[in-house]
């Protein structure tokens, strides 16, 4: 039987650790992806992801269901990302590790992808990462939450603590920058 997030939360609060494990399994990937795209470093994204679940676990008793569990989790993760950015005192730059070799990637991928496609996708990824790195944090976060996590404008506004209109403006401005930066590539 598949429990909803809120049901799993209720069961977790009631003492069923297994239910919280299921929540971790269900949300670990999205939270990690969010952290990775915001701060751009795999190892740090992993730490943020771990810390997110740790904090959620600690605060589970205080979760009253006033928001979706996922929104609550995203909020924790985003706060941790912001802390990370402040601690680093720099603009997050998404980096592909220096030692990554395209041929290794090709060898590690199955089924075998034509090398031209692989190189093209690799270049595209690098271009997106560079373009995203040019955005102010709030625009980048809005785009990530919208594009990759499918949140509504209202949900992003709630998470970011800003008006709905501001979210739309941030999205528009962010997309405009990306349009310009990605246009340079062509």
């Amino acid at each position: 039987m598949t429990w909803s997030d809120e049901e799993l939360v209720t069961r977790s609060i009631g003492g069923d650790a297994e239910s919280f494990n299921q929540l971790v399994l269900r949300w670990e990937r999205p939270i990690y992806a969010l952290a990775y795209r915001v701060i751009g470093r795999e190892e740090d994204a992993r730490d943020v992801c771990q810390e997110t679940f740790l904090r959620a676990f600690r605060a589970l008793g205080g979760f009253r269901g006033q928001a979706k569990f996922s929104s609550w989790l995203y909020r924790i993760a985003l706060n941790l990302c912001r802390d990370w950015v402040r601690r680093q005192r720099r603009t997050p730059v998404v980096q592909v590790p220096e030692d990554v070799d395209v041929l290794e990637l090709a060898a590690a991928r199955e089924p075998v992808e034509p090398i031209e496609d692989l190189v093209e996708r690799h270049d595209l990824t690098r271009a997106v990462e560079r373009a995203m790195a040019k955005l102010p944090e709030e625009q980048r976060t809005a785009i990530i939450l919208k594009e990759y996590h499918g949140l509504t404008f209202q949900e992003i506004a709630d998470l970011s603590g800003c008006p709905l209109s501001t979210v739309k403006t941030r999205l528009y401005q962010g997309l405009a920058v990306l349009r310009r930066e990605l246009g340079k590539r062509e």
Partner: protein, 252 residues
């Protein structure tokens, strides 16, 4: 920029809402009607759709995770998880020691013979057996004493842990599991996917090395074969040349 010439009300917000299909019907129809006659808006919409299409191809590393076996979703932890690490290590050492004693394990390193490992059974026919056996028996006695003490200790630990588990099973999850334990489990969860990926990559790397080696062998075989043909040809030519020279010399 071309789109600056358009003065559609609240243009940026409407474009974003339309782009993400999060707009009410009335505004949608109004904007679509406008776009049909506004070149800057059409161009910008097309470009922003292109941006979204490009963004969709940016996969975070998590997409590579697979073959997961969650240690978090493990069920009740085995009793050995409750035994202190020192006890687990000690028990392992005891088992190893007792096994070695039972097997009469003998590990030797000799410069001439290198590393050799023999068991009591493999040495049974040797002349040294009578001398070694009493010594082994003498050594086994302390092990047994230690083992008995360890068994007692483990039983006490298990009993204590069972009591603790029974007491904590009725408390909320948030207090039943320590932060450190939870942190460890989450870490394991995250590492599991990496490990699977690393193993997968290592296997492929090994296969690649095998393929390269096989190709090298095949190439070498071809090369040797070609050299053999060349040498045969060369020897034949030399013999012919020698005959010609001999003939020339004899004709002088």
């Amino acid at each position: 920029m071309a789109e600056q010439h358009c003065i559609y009300p609240d243009r940026e917000a409407v474009i974003v809402a339309y782009l993400y299909d999060d707009i009410d019907a009335v505004h949608r129809v109004a904007f679509e009607t406008h776009v049909a006659t506004c070149e800057p808006c059409r161009t910008e919409l097309a470009d922003l759709r292109g941006v979204r299409s490009t963004l969709a191809q940016w996969a975070a590393p998590e997409a590579r995770q697979s073959h997961r076996q969650s240690p978090v979703v493990s069920h009740q932890p085995g009793w050995w998880h409750a035994v202190p690490v020192w006890a687990q290590v000690a028990a392992a050492m005891l088992v190893l020691g007792v096994s070695a004693s039972v097997a009469n394990l003998d590990v030797r390193y000799d410069r001439a013979k290198g590393l050799s490992v023999t068991t009591g059974w493999s040495k049974a026919s040797s002349a040294q057996t009578p001398a070694v056996a009493p010594q082994t028996q003498a050594n086994a006695a302390p092990w047994r004493t230690d083992l008995a003490a360890m068994q007692k200790q483990l039983h006490e630990e298990m009993r204590a842990q069972s009591a603790t588990l029974a007491a904590t099973s009725t408390t909320p999850a948030a207090t039943a599991m320590s932060d450190a334990e939870f942190s460890r489990r989450v870490r394991l969860l995250l590492d599991a996917s990496d490990e699977a990926q690393r193993q997968d990559f290592a296997a492929k790397l090994v296969q690649l090395q095998k393929d390269v080696y096989a190709q090298q062998q095949a190439d070498l075989a071809k090369l040797y074969k070609a050299m053999g043909v060349f040498q045969t040809t060369t020897r034949g030519e030399l013999a012919s040349q020698r005959q010609v020279l001999s003939l020339a010399v004899s004709q002088r």
